[in-house]
């Protein structure tokens, strides 16, 4: 198996060469602790500063509004608990959607155990949040809302600005968090323009390293610290900074920002190629958004008539050197059905037979053609075996 066509870029991505070079330089040559008083500490601190600035510019926010975390999960956990516990004096109602990532859903479940009233918004068959339901459940008691901008399994894009307007008009007390982990670096997202208070990003979804992410916290917004015990990140997030990780995040963000328009165009092109190609496979269907404006350019969730186990299709493609996923990566390991596809109301083969193809701008058209070619072969063989 020599050829590798990696189409699982929403699970994680390969580090860019620039990222690896910057990180290994930091690991080998700039290993001081940013908190140390000597010059080696200062040198490390400068790296943090540069990276923070890069990210702030990419999000069009202030440097002091960026806080480094150990990744997307910590950013989400922190945003949710930090907000809810900070604001619990003003109300006990918190809101999210049913299609969030587990790091959000489980955090809300924990809040429910702690006595908060939790509402989960429903979505339609394309994964789009029900605005009317949101309007109906908002009260003065609502203190926190978390909504993902791009869904990791279906690629559904929420109309965040529309939802924010509804929230702001109904309640003055609520903090708004956006999980932008699948969106940032691929689609323009600017928290100030959207008028949101918190926003999570992660490095390894945009060709950066694993184990590093950041949380945007709007200036003036107070949330409770999550990790305590040190004065790092303005006393907001204790723990010696992951300097090489932060450098890697900075390098990945710089590259993503620079090429955002070109990359997006490339992704759209590749996705279009897939969608056109699927019609030749026959009996192929797409889960999630139909309207291109509500569909992220890098995620296609698909299923095929006669194929009822997504993982068998996944492994059959793997034999050909093609890597995709079923549902979301963590789910398929536990063999649990995807809660996202369930929320979309999918059943039967659309539900159990779905695979997700997720693209990177590093993918090539030839790779897509190879994928489509093999997909057609594999699907027809599996159909034949299934009889």
């Amino acid at each position: 198996m020599n050829k590798i066509v990696y189409l699982d870029n929403s699970a994680t991505t390969r580090c860019l060469d620039d990222v690896v070079v910057a990180m290994s330089d930091a690991l080998q040559n700039c290993y001081g602790n940013p908190s140390s008083m000597h010059s080696m500490g200062l040198e490390a601190e400068r790296l943090l500063k540069t990276s923070r600035k890069t990210i702030a510019e990419a999000l069009r926010v202030g440097e002091h509004e960026i806080f480094f975390t150990s990744g997307g999960t910590e950013a989400n956990n922190w945003a949710i608990w930090g907000s809810a516990y900070q604001r619990k004096g003003r109300g006990r109602h918190v809101i999210t959607t049913g299609i969030e990532h587990a790091s959000v859903l489980k955090s809300f479940q924990r809040l429910a155990e702690d006595g908060f009233k939790v509402s989960f918004l429903q979505v339609n068959e394309e994964g789009i949040v029900d605005e009317r339901q949101l309007e109906d459940i908002l009260t003065n008691e609502s203190i926190f809302i978390s909504i993902m901008s791009v869904n990791n399994e279906t690629g559904t894009i929420q109309s965040i600005s529309k939802l924010v307007k509804i929230i702001r008009s109904k309640t003055p007390n609520a903090l708004i968090h956006v999980d932008a982990i699948q969106c940032f670096g691929k689609i323009e997202i600017y928290p100030r323009e959207l008028d949101v208070d918190l926003l999570s990003i992660s490095a390894h979804k945009i060709h950066g390293p694993k184990g590093i992410g950041a949380l945007y916290i709007r200036k003036g917004v107070l949330i409770k610290p999550f990790l305590i015990g040190g004065e790092q990140e303005a006393c907001y997030r204790a723990g010696t900074e992951n300097v090489p990780g932060i450098v890697g995040l900075g390098a990945a963000v710089a590259a993503a920002k620079k090429e955002l328009t070109a990359n997006k165009k490339k992704l759209e092109l590749l996705k279009e190629r897939i969608i056109n190609g699927l019609s030749e496979v026959g009996g192929a269907h797409i889960n999630g958004p139909v309207n291109a404006q509500q569909a992220a350019p890098h995620i296609v969730n698909m299923w095929f008539e006669g194929i009822h186990r997504g993982e068998v299709l996944l492994h059959s493609l793997e034999v050909e050197g093609i890597y995709v996923s079923t549902g979301s990566a963590c789910h398929s390991r536990r063999e649990e059905a995807s809660h996202v596809l369930k929320e979309l109301g999918l059943t039967g083969e659309a539900f159990t037979g779905a695979i997700r193809v997720s693209l990177s701008h590093l993918n090539q058209e030839e790779e897509i053609d190879y994928f489509l070619h093999k997909l057609k072969e594999v699907v027809s063989e599996l159909r034949e075996l299934a009889g």
Partner: protein
């Protein structure tokens, strides 16, 4: 003070002329089990074995407890052959037990040169212990603790605790068996039981990638490694079975899939037994558990081999098997969810009481020799050791 682990092995000492062979094998297996600890000489005398304990009592006991053929072990302090010395060692042992209670002293005197007879030693030592301790009384009928004194030519062994072990026969003394290892709960237990009766086990796994995942193969490897802690390194054959399954699926009637599949498995096992000089096939089958585990099915499946098929779990209930799996520590591995995600090959209505004639007829659609030869060519062999 010198300490030894005293090893008792019951059944072997009954085995007449084979006794030496059994003892040698037990010695060898014990050496293997503690091979990575500091080197030491295991002694054999009068139907017992003695392992010197350095400062690693716990590690030695933990390893030796897993060696089949041993009935029980005791940590014994070794004293000079002198009554005063023996008494003070016994006192220390009793003092190490907190709480007090009743005790009695039991003496054995294989060394007839010792001036006092057994009852005298017990009496003297008992009197001494009673006088020197608080909270202990003598009870010769139902004591809480028995202080054992063994008078041997090389010294006196004093111990209070008997740790029960697994019993059985030393692995390797009754031959070699090929275990069909699926990755489920049953087969590791069946292998363990074969080992308990002295079989050296080699494993055979049928791998159906892409219909099962690579993680399920990893799991089987982990399981084989786990059972190797009971009998030393294990050879694991991984047979690529997919093409056979596909051929069955394409050419044979649905109700016989399972029967024919099992017959193919047994044919492969038969060949590997020949290559590896194994004299039995072991399976984790339990009567009536699934369609292939009825008497009729077993008869039709067995028909392809002359090698004895041992089914140690044949009369066990699932819950009993689970209990064993927990005891031998394979359960947690077995229930990892990477098992067969393959439903393509499981018919809705398998033949529960297949007859040989129609099955043989159905098999004529297959080029059995070719299929088996090709799959044997793709068989990997792994050597797995406990650590």
């Amino acid at each position: 003070m010198r300490k030894v682990l005293l090893i008792r092995y019951g059944e072997i000492s009954l085995k007449g002329k084979n006794r030496h062979q059994f003892e040698n094998r037990l010695m060898q297996n014990m050496k293997g089990s503690i091979g990575d600890l500091a080197p030491r000489r295991i002694e054999l005398a009068y139907g017992r074995m003695y392992i010197p304990i350095l400062d690693d009592a716990e590690a030695v006991i933990e390893r030796v407890k897993k060696v089949f053929g041993i009935v029980s072990v005791s940590v014994a302090s070794v004293s000079k052959l002198d009554l005063d010395a023996i008494c003070s060692v016994a006192l220390k042992q009793l003092n190490d037990i907190t709480g007090g209670g009743s005790f009695k002293v039991e003496t054995q005197r294989p060394n007839k040169n010792f001036p006092l007879k057994s009852p005298q030693v017990s009496r003297e030592a008992g009197g001494y212990l009673l006088e020197k301790t608080e909270g202990w009384s003598v009870d010769v009928h139902h004591p809480d603790v028995v202080v054992n004194i063994e008078l041997r030519s090389e010294g006196a062994y004093v111990y209070t605790e008997k740790i029960p072990c697994l019993g059985g026969l030393p692995v390797g003394t009754t031959g070699r068996g090929l275990l069909l290892l699926s990755g489920g709960i049953d087969s590791p237990v069946a292998g363990w039981m074969g080992m308990k009766r002295g079989l050296e086990i080699i494993g055979l796994h049928f791998y159906s990638f892409p219909f099962t995942s690579e993680r399920s193969k990893e799991k089987v490897i982990d399981l084989a490694q786990k059972i190797s802690t009971y009998g030393g390194p294990i050879k694991l054959y991984i047979n690529h079975f997919t093409e056979i399954q596909k051929a069955i699926r394409k050419h044979c009637p649905e109700q016989y899939y399972v029967t024919i599949m099992r017959r193919m498995m047994f044919r492969i096992a038969d060949t590997i037994c020949g290559q590896a000089q194994a004299k039995a096939i072991l399976t984790g089958e339990s009567l009536g558990q699934v369609a292939s585990q009825t008497l009729e099915s077993m008869a039709v499946i067995n028909e392809v081999t002359k090698i004895p098929v041992l089914r140690p779990l044949i009369t066990f209930d699932k819950l009993e098997i689970i209990e064993y799996a927990k005891k031998i520590d394979t359960y947690e591995l077995s229930i990892l969810p990477y098992e067969d995600c393959c439903t393509i090959f499981v018919p809705k209505h398998p033949a529960i009481r297949p007859k040989l004639g129609p099955v043989q007829e159905a098999e004529q659609a297959l080029d059995i020799e070719k299929l088996i030869a090709e799959s044997l060519e793709k068989t990997e062999v792994l050597e797995l050791s406990p650590r």
